[in-house]
């Protein structure tokens, strides 16, 4: 892991750096699995290894692969890094040892979550319970951040070219990949079903809205990569996706408002149904649905914005 990071720091060719970044992310995810953080590993796998590599490649395609040597200030950087590293290491003297069960972090609210989440929410996966119920506010805020980021990317990279000037060079290039096209055709339904499974199985195993959203989006991205982004945009309409991105946030928020109207706190799902546990379960399900929709839509928007930019760059010099 360290070696990978060092290699990334050293490699000049940006493309190689991006590839190594993919490996680095896979390593991180396996590390998370070893440390029992299955949900996190899941997310890191689908996000880090998939989407982020692709986005970096897209950006690379737009900016050019070579790095200039002139602006390489290693001395200054080394000094800064060494000083702050030493300070941080000094800070670790008082930290409790790795993997001890008596560290302060395990004494505060975590035991409550682990012991009571089953009775209070009826959800086996504690991570999901905390994500959607106990810390629903945080998650709502983060969902809004994702939504805002997608809006920001859309605003920054909005294509000014008229749509009929589309030239799908990539689709033509992919036309000859017969084997690839057929395999992808077989895979996409499986991926979509798997995304739905992850979405609704999040209560019982690793999974949930964030992961499912990204997997769903990656199915669409795969389609657009192999069949051309024009074809993909006929399948998933741009406007519909934009509406969906907002809809997910709205679902999440309105669940909160409804519970507010029922006389409880914002996002207190116990109010939704007569039986508090059932209410919690329903609330978590709805909220995860909202998360999934927004994340999927936001990722698709971001990807399309990037790939449209690539296409329009190709058109403009002609």
């Amino acid at each position: 892991m360290l070696f990978t990071a060092l290699a990334i720091a050293r490699v000049k060719d940006l493309f190689a750096a991006v590839m190594l970044m993919g490996i680095y992310s896979l390593l991180t995810a396996s590390l998370f699995v070893v440390m029992h953080a299955v949900d996190v590993a899941f997310t890191e796998a689908v996000v880090g290894a998939g989407i982020s590599t692709l986005l970096m490649l897209k950006a690379l395609a737009l900016t050019g692969p070579h790095q200039n040597n002139s602006s390489y200030r290693s001395m200054l950087a080394l000094v800064v890094v060494l000083i702050s590293g030493a300070l941080l290491i000094y800070g670790t003297w008082d930290i409790p040892p790795f993997a001890s069960a008596s560290a302060p972090i395990h004494q505060h609210v975590a035991p409550h979550y682990i012991q009571n989440s089953m009775q209070e929410t009826g959800v086996r996966n504690v991570v999901t319970a905390i994500l959607a119920s106990y810390r629903g506010f945080d998650t709502f805020g983060e969902l809004v951040v994702v939504f805002t980021a997608s809006v920001g990317v859309m605003g920054l990279l909005a294509v000014t070219h008229p749509h009929d000037k589309y030239h799908d060079g990539d689709a033509a290039a992919m036309q000859q990949h017969l084997i690839l096209r057929i395999v992808v055709k077989m895979l996409i339904p499986l991926i979509l079903i798997f995304a739905l499974y992850v979405q609704f199985h999040g209560d019982y195993g690793p999974g949930g809205g964030f992961q499912a959203g990204v997997i769903f989006a990656s199915a669409i991205i795969l389609y657009s990569m192999v069949f051309g982004s024009h074809a993909a945009q006929q399948v998933v309409n741009r406007t519909v996706i934009q509406i969906l991105a907002a809809l997910g946030v709205l679902i999440y928020g309105s669940v909160g408002i409804v519970s507010l109207l029922m006389g409880r706190n914002f996002l207190d799902y116990s109010a939704l149904l007569p039986d508090p546990v059932d209410g919690q379960h329903l609330g978590i399900l709805l909220v995860e649905l909202g998360v999934g929709i927004t994340v999927a839509a936001a990722m698709i928007i971001i990807f399309f914005s990037f790939s449209d930019r690539v296409v329009s760059e190709e058109v403009s010099p002609e």
């Binding site: 990949h177 084997i179 690839l180 395999v183 077989m186 895979l187 499986l190």
Partner: protein, 110 residues
């Protein structure tokens, strides 16, 4: 009888796992030692399908729940579908990218 079946299953899965591990390692060594890209790809292909397949089948013999078995079959299916497809696409891209296979040990290409 039950014990016999259990024992057989364990031995079978053990053999498969060891074989799979062996193929993986040999493929990995090949990936490192072979002289050019296309031969390396051949080595990687071995680990992708044969090694992965053997290990996954070995795990299947050890699984106790139906859902676990089902998921393993799915993983195997994906591995068998995507591995060769990715290799094929990679070879094609390398070919288009004017990367010549190393046919003889000489420097003159065309």
């Amino acid at each position: 009888m039950e014990i016999m079946i259990d024992l057989l299953l364990n031995i079978g899965s053990g053999i498969l796992l060891i074989l799979g591990g062996f193929f993986c390692v040999s493929g990995g060594v090949g990936l490192l030692r072979f002289p050019d890209f296309y031969t390396r790809m051949h080595a990687a292909g071995v680990t992708d399908t044969l090694g992965a397949g053997l290990i996954l089948v070995g795990l299947m013999l050890q699984s106790t729940h139906l859902i676990v078995l089902l998921k393993l079959i799915l993983v195997l299916l994906f591995a068998l579908l995507t591995g060769p497809a990715a290799s094929h696409a990679l070879a094609k891209a390398a070919m288009h990218g004017n990367l010549k296979p190393l046919l003889y040990r000489d420097k003159s290409t065309r």
